[in-house]
Amino acid sequence: MSFRLYVLQRATALILVPLIAVHLIVIFYATAKGISAASILARTRGSFGWGAFYSVFVIAAALHGAIGVRNVVAEWGPDQLKRNARLLSLILWVTGLGLAGLGLRAVYAVVVA
């Protein structure tokens, strides 16, 4: 792992810690109050705040997770894979773009669509 990836993974972790706290608190709050999907969507639709919050969340999580998956493969994968820098980069990009794509699609669905 390059030092750049190391720094990026720690930086995204720093960003994620407060965001995860808000995310979990809101989930507990919303489910405890028993509010419906429709009323949640009514709050998120067109909300710049929630859109920005979850866009940052998704991008930070995608970067953080992708670097982690790459490192797991680099350390625990078969020997041929450990040594293959191009394949490790490919795993990083596919995981990162995949997670970002899925996440941003969900943000789009609850905020814009």
């Binding site: 792992m1 390059s2 030092f3 750049r4 720094v7 350390e75 625990w76 450990k82 040594r83």
Partner: protein
């Protein structure tokens, strides 16, 4: 303890491929694991290969795996490590086996070179001796890590060494940390680049097995954490690529 008391020992024979063989050795008071190995080689099978020199915990050449844990065998009493009357002695892990209990430590020492674990002087013998106060905080950081005897126990205990073929390892990084805190050293910019390259300090998982097993009671994990902070500062200043 009577002279007729014995202990059954299993010992690794062969190279990377091999098997544990059983030996019965007379038990003595204050007997060390190295005493056991020496008895087997001198009295039972002279073809047994192992490595030792000083026998008093200074040279760092007799480290082996004893009942699954890396240890300096000359300072390890049998009574402290025997489990259910059993003693299993093997070569250090994470290194190729040359024969029996002797490992090829080339990779371990190459990492010291790679981490620039060499003092680079900034003055000559014509200059005055540098004044370094023992109370200087930077010197105290260096002092905390300088008693390494290069035995390879931390290398053998480290999960990251096992998983990451590029990893510099606890001993080499600990050495680099002591030099990074040596005010007389002139290679600190190069060294911080060396220890944050691929397989550098950032690969450490902070499992602290090195600290747990170091026979000298050093804490390489803390040294590596120091290098991580130093590397991060260098990275933020734009000194690392």
């Amino acid at each position: 303890m009577t002279a007729t008391e014995t202990i059954t020992v299993t010992l690794w024979r062969g190279k990377d491929e091999g098997r544990y063989e059983t030996y019965v050795v007379p038990r003595n008071e204050s007997q060390t694991v190295l005493d056991i190995v020496t008895h087997i080689q001198r009295e039972i099978d002279p073809t047994l290969s192992y490595r030792f020199a000083c026998r008093v915990g200074v040279c760092g050449s007799c480290a082996m795996t004893v009942n699954g844990r890396p240890r300096w065998t000359c300072r390890t009493h049998v009574s402290k490590v025997v489990e259910d009357g059993k003693l299993e002695i093997g070569p250090l892990a994470n290194l190729p086996v040359i024969k029996d209990l002797a490992t090829d430590m080339t990779r371990f020492f190459e990492r010291w070179q790679q981490a620039k674990g060499v003092f680079e002087p900034t003055t000559t013998r014509a200059d005055a001796i540098a004044a370094v106060l023992p109370s200087d905080p930077q010197r105290q950081k260096a002092d905390a890590g300088i008693e390494c005897i290069n035995c390879g126990v931390c290398w053998s205990a480290c999960d990251t060494v096992r998983w990451n073929p590029d990893y510099l390892g606890p001993a080499a990084l600990n050495r680099a940390w002591t030099l990074q805190n040596d005010s007389r050293d002139g290679a600190q910019t190069d060294r911080i680049a060396a220890v944050s390259a691929k397989g550098g300090c950032q690969a450490c998982h902070t499992h602290q097995s090195c600290e747990q097993h170091c026979p000298q009671g050093l804490n390489p994990t803390a040294s590596i954490a120091g290098l991580k902070r130093m590397s991060l500062q260098a990275y933020l200043r734009g000194e690392l690529e």
